[in-house]
Assembly symmetry: C2
Homo-oligomer: 400 residues x 2
């Protein structure tokens, strides 16, 4: 955590500065300019504080390479617009709140502890937001399908670190609130998030490596608090403070940001969020995504069409099936799933279909072993900020 | 509420007494003897305190007639083993707890107030329990599919009664706990249940009529607290007291009875329920039931087979589709749904299939508009008492 007073335009990376100066959308820098080390083929949603989306065709591999992995950063941090790592040496993480006494963790200690690796989906809770525009456009970055990736994350269990430090957590602690070194834009509250403490102690990692290398600065290195199965916003980057508290934080980034209503909201309707009528974007909804063909594609008639995609949920149970329909939901056929090694990873799937000439739609739906599936009309989960889209995939193609 | 001291064997109906005296299962009375007015075709699970199940073929009508509606009573009550009504005159309902001052409602007042009618599914949360035996048999009455019915319930909104009485509910009240006039068996705690107060004030009725007539004694008349979308156990019969409280009751019938774990439990595993690791059997899970053919039926080869059933959820959204598979889940076909007038009612559905000779299976699965469906293996929701079964229906038939 850095105070806003110490941060200024100087904290922006060079490419971000150029974008601010340039101003015009026609001069938007490419993704490789926005974040050093990224390929140039990503969609640049924002360049000052980088927000980059991965095109579908770059998501077909089991593991998403870091040079194409999406980026969604919220606040400025000096020298963070790069895939380069950040030294663990000298990095401290404060432990405060309802514990026996405050502690300071020297992050270098993590390197010598038992490492746990999860292959896991990393997904922005705004992924798919643009699809809400089928009813009423939701405010925020208009992500299509590429605000996600599947990565290998390793680090030390939070519970193991607590044991090593001898931390005794008070009976009144029910949430873990985490802060990072990044600082807010002027007039905004500093970014932080709360997690249910029980789940954090069971699953969260103080992660230091991703895809076998130190976590790059742009992705939250040297230490990121990562909880598999949770939306990306809950994986706190550049973590510097862990607060054990009785209540969920009322920080602007926890409420009203990054929340969804508990009940259905008619598209376009306003809501005043309370802790009672809404919940934080924690566990990921069951979902599948079609990666190929892309929406609007022209495909050849009379030939087998390969349909490919991925499916995942919050990891609490397995994906049981992905089903494909070529007749707008009248009949569904199970596709072939590639079973991943980890329950938090995505399942790649593929099918081969033959379509008649003309305008056609491919619909895809995942069902997990708990019977959790996807709404036929994803807008039933409409919310003002367009979080947690998980509608049945409907890909329109033209068969010529 | 009656104290246990005033209750004895004298509270059992005559048929119940006979059963106790007779003892032998070979002399189990028929359902018309167990409850006066019921048809003789129901399955008698228990006769002292009546527990009766409706055979599938009697559930095919839109509205389930009262003479075949299932019964699941928990505690003895004098003269309650009958379809006859109970006078409203003289019936009092106490309002206590976190309200401005205690009240006593004269139930006769309800008759003069605005009546609200819901067509709704009434379902025991143990319905389908016997199907858990595919892994480990759950303890309790081995219901198959007939612990449910679809009825028209009318009464007065709880919120309207509160307004009429001028009740001001305290800010600290979060649950409504209801008790009935029935009394516990010796050594047991009196039956009561808590509901989330917000939902009770929004949806609950002080119901006095069912299918157009006064609620019969056996079904909880003269006044039953009914909350559409909730499991039947939460519809408190013979209601005599409403307590507005800060916490969910820790009564034995709320915890550990009538609870399910929040996380998956391997079949057969014990669990010590806490409010944190479990939840009450409140909202009904999304589900479909095949009513015809019955499991194990022999059906004729080379002819269209009519498959019929019902589907429902907790009424918070519509059932979007019911899908049928004749190839063990490889392909699914949407069936024809009859849209009900009320979101709490069941959807009757039907399909026509042609099966090859030999042993075949019909699988049926509902999906609602929120994307909530049913697990392919219902035992994933295994719990020691076998509540809330909602597995995909799998009906084995022999085609001859």
């Amino acid at each position: 955590m850095a105070s806003a007073a110490t941060m200024g335009v100087g904290v922006l990376g060079l490419s971000g500065l150029e974008a601010l100066v340039a101003g015009s959308p026609t001069r938007t820098p490419g993704s490789s300019q926005v974040v050093t080390g990224k390929r140039d083929s990503l969609v640049v949603h924002k360049s000052e504080i980088p927000v980059l989306e991965t095109p579908s065709q770059l998501l077909e591999s089991r593991i998403t390479p870091l040079d194409v992995l999406f980026v969604r950063n919220n606040q400025p941090l000096a020298d963070a617009a790069t895939l380069k790592g950040v030294p663990l040496k000298g990095w401290k993480i404060a432990w405060t709140g309802k514990i026996d006494k405050p502690r300071s963790l020297d992050a270098e200690v993590l390197a010598g502890m038992e490492q746990v690796e999860h292959e896991m989906v990393l997904q922005c809770c705004g992924n798919g937001r643009s699809l809400f525009a089928g009813t009423v456009q939701a405010k925020g970055t208009q992500w299509t399908r590429g605000g996600m990736g599947n990565v290998r994350v390793s680090g030390v269990r939070l519970s193991a670190v607590a044991r090593k430090l001898g931390v005794r957590i008070g009976a009144g602690a029910r949430f873990l609130t985490a802060e990072g070194r990044d600082a807010p834009l002027p007039g905004k509250q500093d970014f932080e998030h709360s997690l249910p403490l029980d789940e954090a102690m069971e699953h969260s990692l103080l992660a230091t490596r991703i895809n076998g290398q130190p976590i790059p600065a742009v992705h939250g290195g040297p230490v990121r608090l990562m909880t598999p199965g949770y939306y990306g916003t809950m994986h706190i980057k550049w973590v510097t403070r862990l607060r054990f508290e009785g209540e969920e934080t009322d920080n602007y980034n926890q409420i009203p940001r990054y929340r969804v209503p508990r009940s259905q909201l008619p598209p376009g309707q306003k809501i005043e969020y309370t802790f009672a009528n809404s919940k934080a974007c924690w566990r990921m909804k069951t979902k599948c995504v079609v990666l190929s063909p892309e929406p609007g594609a022209a495909v050849a008639a009379g030939r087998k069409l390969s349909v490919r995609g991925v499916a995942f949920n919050d990891g609490s149970t397995r994906i049981d099936s992905v089903q494909l329909s070529t007749d707008r939901g009248q009949t569904w056929k199970r596709v072939s799933l590639e079973i991943p090694a980890s329950r938090f990873a995505w399942y790649r799937w593929s099918a081969s279909v033959t379509l008649g000439a003309g305008k056609q739609e491919l619909w895809a739906r995942a069902v997990d072993a708990l019977g959790r599936s996807q709404p036929l009309d994803g807008s039933i989960h409409w919310n003002p900020s367009g979080y947690e889209w998980n509608g049945v995939e409907k890909i329109a193609v033209t068969v010529v």
